[in-house]
């Protein structure tokens, strides 16, 4: 069946966000990335700044931080409450309209729908470093550090909440190496696969 919803998981620096935004523009559908933070904030009662820090990324201390997080009387940590709000927002968005959703474990959250195309975008080190140094105006060494840190926190968050492995091919309909294929070709393949 035709795919109304496109989820894009991505390695930091792979251009996945850029590719997703272009795909949404070309298909004329909604694009959700950081712009869903205010909705998660509203649903959870936490501030947008707090959401931005923890909604897609694990605590900096890694997987143990989830286990050791303070929990309320229901056994839920702050991270769990934010995640639950994020999950509800994503389910509602998918019901509401065709869209591209970047990150936030949307592939797993929407796993019971059959109109979702799940994409994972990754890339080669030299191209990812170049992309990050340009985009964030940082030196190469800093780019490598940002990449390792962000991907680790995304992976930890994903593996904790989904019990799947981030970046394992079988979780996604389509995985693309954007360095080898080029952004334009990645966009064309994704669009062709929605039909």
């Amino acid at each position: 069946m035709a795919k109304r919803i496109i989820t894009i998981s991505r390695e930091f620096g792979s251009g996945g966000r850029f590719i997703g935004e272009e795909v949404a523009k070309k298909l004329g559908i909604a694009y959700y990335d950081k712009n869903i933070i205010s909705q998660i904030a509203e649903k959870s009662g936490f501030s947008p700044e707090h959401i931005q820090e923890i909604a897609e990324l694990s605590p900096k201390k890694g997987m143990f931080a989830y286990a050791l997080a303070g929990r309320d009387i229901t056994g839920k940590s702050v991270e769990d409450m934010v995640y639950e709000a994020q999950r509800k927002v994503i389910l509602e968005l998918a019901d509401k309209e065709p869209c591209v959703i970047i990150g936030r474990n949307a592939d797993y959250i929407l796993k019971d729908r059959d109109d979702v195309l799940n994409i994972f975008i990754h890339g080669d080190m030299p191209e990812k470093i170049q992309h990050i140094t340009r985009l964030y105006k940082v030196e190469e060494q800093e780019a490598v550090k940002m990449m390792a840190d962000t991907d680790k926190r995304r992976r930890t968050n994903y593996n904790f909440y989904t019990e799947q492995k981030w970046g394992k091919a079988s979780n996604y309909t389509l995985c693309l190496n954007s360095s080898q294929l080029g952004y334009d070709r990645c966009e064309a393949i994704i669009i062709a696969c929605t039909k």
Copy 2:
């Protein structure tokens, strides 16, 4: 640059071999699968039957069997010698002509070339079971067993000889879910990505 060589790794039952064969036909290039066994046999001195059993699959006892395998005076096991012969055959084939190579860790063996398109094809359980029951004329229960056994042995062989993880998206240029995308579309995407 244009991709002369296409390697296809695949889950058992995903139709990866069939897709690879069709791609080779449509591109008018050579196709290597079981037909390289005689070349590996010739290079290694072992019989084709022996090669068929061990060249792509780990021993049934799993990873430990590699560690515990009997070794000759150079420290090499029979599995290592067959693998080395297979590696040489694959390197020579890639030098000789444009081709599709199925399995046999060809993605890793050819990692130093920049004219290789590495594909991983996987699928959903119901479609894979259907494919296997038809192809091998077995019952569903037997199909599930064959799938689990073969994928485990391919994974173990790959992880042992490549020090990478079989089925991890970042090892491949392109990963495709053939159940969701359909064989025809997988073929079209692969062909488009060679150019």
